[in-house]
C-alpha cells in the first residue's frame, strides 16, 4: 500500500508525463487555449489512463513477457511474444477508447457532450501509450501499483494542461513579441513550469 501511494505521488509530480517526459505534447499545446476545454480533456485522459494501464499490465503479465503463457500450457514456457507489445498495447488503447466512448454515450449523454469530442483524440495521445510502455519497463509488482500509476500519471498530465491553459488565458493581455506569440511562449512557459516541478525531485519517497 505504502509503495502504491509513493508511485501515485511520484507519477504526478516527479515523473510527470509532460514536464519530465514531454508525452502528450501535441494535444497539450493544441487544446490548452481555454481552461474549460483543458479540464474536459484532462478528465478524459485520467479516465482512459486509469483503465488502459492496468488492462495492459494484465496483458503484459499473462501474454507478452517471456514465459508468460505457462498458464495455458507448460509447454509454452519458451515462447517470447515481447516483440508484439507495441501493437498489442496500441490495439488495446484504441479499442478501450472506442468502448469508453460508447458506454459514456449510452449512460451519460451529459458527460458525453463534454468529453465526447476529446475521446478520439486520446487514442493517439502519446501519454496514454507512454503510460503503458513505462508500466512495462518499470516492472510494477502488483495490480494495485499499476492502478496507482495510471491514476497518478493521468492526474499529472491533467494538472499540467489545466495550469498552462490558465496561464495562456491570462497571457492574452500581455505584450509578447510577435514571433514568440502562441506556440513559442507556450514552450518557454512549459519549460519554466518544468523547472518548478523539478523541485519535487527532493521529496524523499
Amino acid at each position: 500500500m505504502q509503495e502504491s501511494i509513493n508511485i501515485f505521488i511520484k507519477s504526478i509530480f516527479i515523473d510527470n508525463m509532460i514536464f519530465a517526459y514531454f508525452l502528450g505534447m501535441c494535444s497539450y499545446l493544441a487544446v490548452s487555449k481555454s481552461v474549460k476545454t483543458a479540464v474536459g480533456l484532462g478528465i478524459a485522459v485520467i479516465f482512459v489512463q486509469v483503465i488502459t494501464v492496468p488492462v495492459n499490465y494484465l496483458l503484459n503479465k499473462y501474454m507478452l513477457t517471456p514465459g508468460a503463457l505457462t498458464w495455458i500450457s507448460p509447454q509454452l514456457a519458451d515462447v517470447d511474444l515481447n516483440f508484439l507489445s507495441f501493437i498489442m498495447f496500441i490495439a488495446v488503447i484504441a479499442s478501450i477508447v472506442q468502448l469508453v466512448e460508447m458506454i459514456i454515450e449510452k449512460f451519460s449523454p451529459a458527460l458525453y457532450n463534454s468529453l465526447g469530442i476529446f475521446l478520439p483524440l486520446i487514442a493517439v495521445n502519446c501519454a496514454i501509450l507512454g503510460g503503458s510502455l513505462f508500466m512495462q519497463e518499470w516492472e510494477f509488482e502488483n495490480f494495485g501499483q499499476t492502478v496507482a500509476f495510471g491514476l497518478g500519471s493521468g492526474i499529472g498530465w491533467a494538472l499540467a494542461i489545466i495550469a498552462i491553459a490558465a496561464i495562456r488565458e491570462k497571457i492574452r493581455y500581455s505584450a509578447i513579441p510577435g514571433p514568440l506569440r502562441g506556440l513559442g511562449i507556450s514552450f518557454i512557459l512549459t519549460g519554466l513550469m518544468a523547472i518548478a516541478f523539478m523541485s519535487f525531485l527532493g521529496i524523499k519517497l
Binding site: 514536464f19 519530465a20 517526459y21 514531454f22 508525452l23 502528450g24 505534447m25 501535441c26 499545446l29 493544441a30 516483440f83 508484439l84 507489445s85 507495441f86 501493437i87 498495447f89 496500441i90 490495439a91 484504441a94 487514442a123 493517439v124 495521445n125 502519446c126 501519454a127 496514454i128 501509450l129 507512454g130 510502455l133 513505462f134 512495462q136 519497463e137 492574452r172 513579441p177 510577435g178 514571433p179 514568440l180 506569440r181 502562441g182 506556440l183 513559442g184 511562449i185 507556450s186 514552450f187 518557454i188 512549459t190 519549460g191 519554466l192 518544468a194 523547472i195 523539478m198
Partner: protein, 218 residues
C-alpha cells in the same frame, strides 16, 4: 493535368522538390504544424540518440506513407484509422527489433521512446493528410521531407544540449580540459528536461522573426 503532362513530370520536378523543402522550413512539423513533439524531446540530451531517433522516425514516416499510399484505394474507410495504426505499429516494431540487434547501446538509451513513434502525431497527420490522397512517389518524398524537418530540430537540440551541457559531441570531448581549468563549467541546466522546451521555444522565436508570415494572431 493531362496524361501527357503527367508522364513528363520528372522524379524531381519543382512540385516534388517542394515536398521535401517545405517541411524543413515553412511547414516544419515541429515548429509550425506542432506535430510529433512527444517522442522528440526526451531523447535529445545527447547527439547520438537524437540522431538515431531522427533516422528511425524518417524511415518510419517515409515507409508508412508509401505503404498507405499503395493501399489507399483498397482501405475500407470505416477501419481506415486502425489500418493506419497497424501499418505504423508494425513498422515501428521492425525498427525497434533492428535497433536492438545492431545498435544495442543506443536502443537502451531510447528505451520506450522508440515505441512512442507509433503515436507520433507526424505519422498519423501525414498519413491522413497526404498519403491517403497521393501516389506512392510523392508520398515517399513527403515522408522524407517531414522526417527531415523533424530530424534537423532534433539534431540541433541534441547538438546544443550535449555540447554545452556535457562538453562532448557524439561522446567525444570537444571542449578541451584547459577550458575547465580556466574556470569554464558545463551548463547543467541544458541537460535537464526543461531546457529542451525552452530551446524549442527559442528556435520557434528565431524562425518566426525571420519569416513573419508564420506569426500567430492569437
Amino acid at each position: 493535368m493531362s496524361k501527357q503532362q503527367k508522364e513528363r513530370e520528372s522524379l524531381f520536378s519543382p512540385r516534388y522538390r517542394k515536398l521535401i523543402r517545405n517541411p524543413l522550413s515553412i511547414e516544419n512539423p515541429i515548429t509550425v504544424q506542432v506535430l510529433g513533439i512527444c517522442s522528440a524531446l526526451a531523447v535529445t540530451t545527447k547527439l547520438k540518440p537524437a540522431f538515431v531517433m531522427a533516422l528511425s522516425v524518417t524511415v518510419v514516416v517515409a515507409l508508412a506513407n508509401v505503404v498507405i499510399s499503395l493501399l489507399r484505394n483498397g482501405i475500407p474507410p470505416r477501419i481506415r484509422i486502425i489500418v493506419q495504426l497497424t501499418v505504423v505499429a508494425a513498422l515501428v516494431i521492425l525498427v525497434d527489433q533492428v535497433l536492438k540487434a545492431f545498435v544495442y547501446d543506443v536502443s537502451k538509451q531510447l528505451s520506450v521512446f522508440v515505441g512512442l513513434i507509433i503515436t507520433n502525431c507526424i505519422l498519423m497527420g501525414r498519413l491522413e493528410a497526404f498519403a491517403m490522397a497521393n501516389k506512392p512517389w510523392p508520398a515517399f518524398l513527403d515522408g522524407i521531407g517531414n522526417g527531415l524537418g523533424y530530424s534537423w530540430i532534433l539534431i540541433a537540440l541534441g547538438f546544443f544540449r550535449e555540447l554545452f551541457g556535457n562538453g562532448t559531441l557524439w561522446g567525444y570531448r570537444i571542449i578541451p580540459q584547459s577550458f575547465y581549468e580556466a574556470g569554464y563549467s558545463n551548463n547543467g541546466l541544458l541537460i535537464l528536461p526543461p531546457a529542451a522546451l525552452i530551446l524549442v521555444g527559442t528556435i520557434i522565436w528565431i524562425q518566426r522573426s525571420r519569416n513573419r508570415s508564420l506569426i500567430e494572431e492569437y
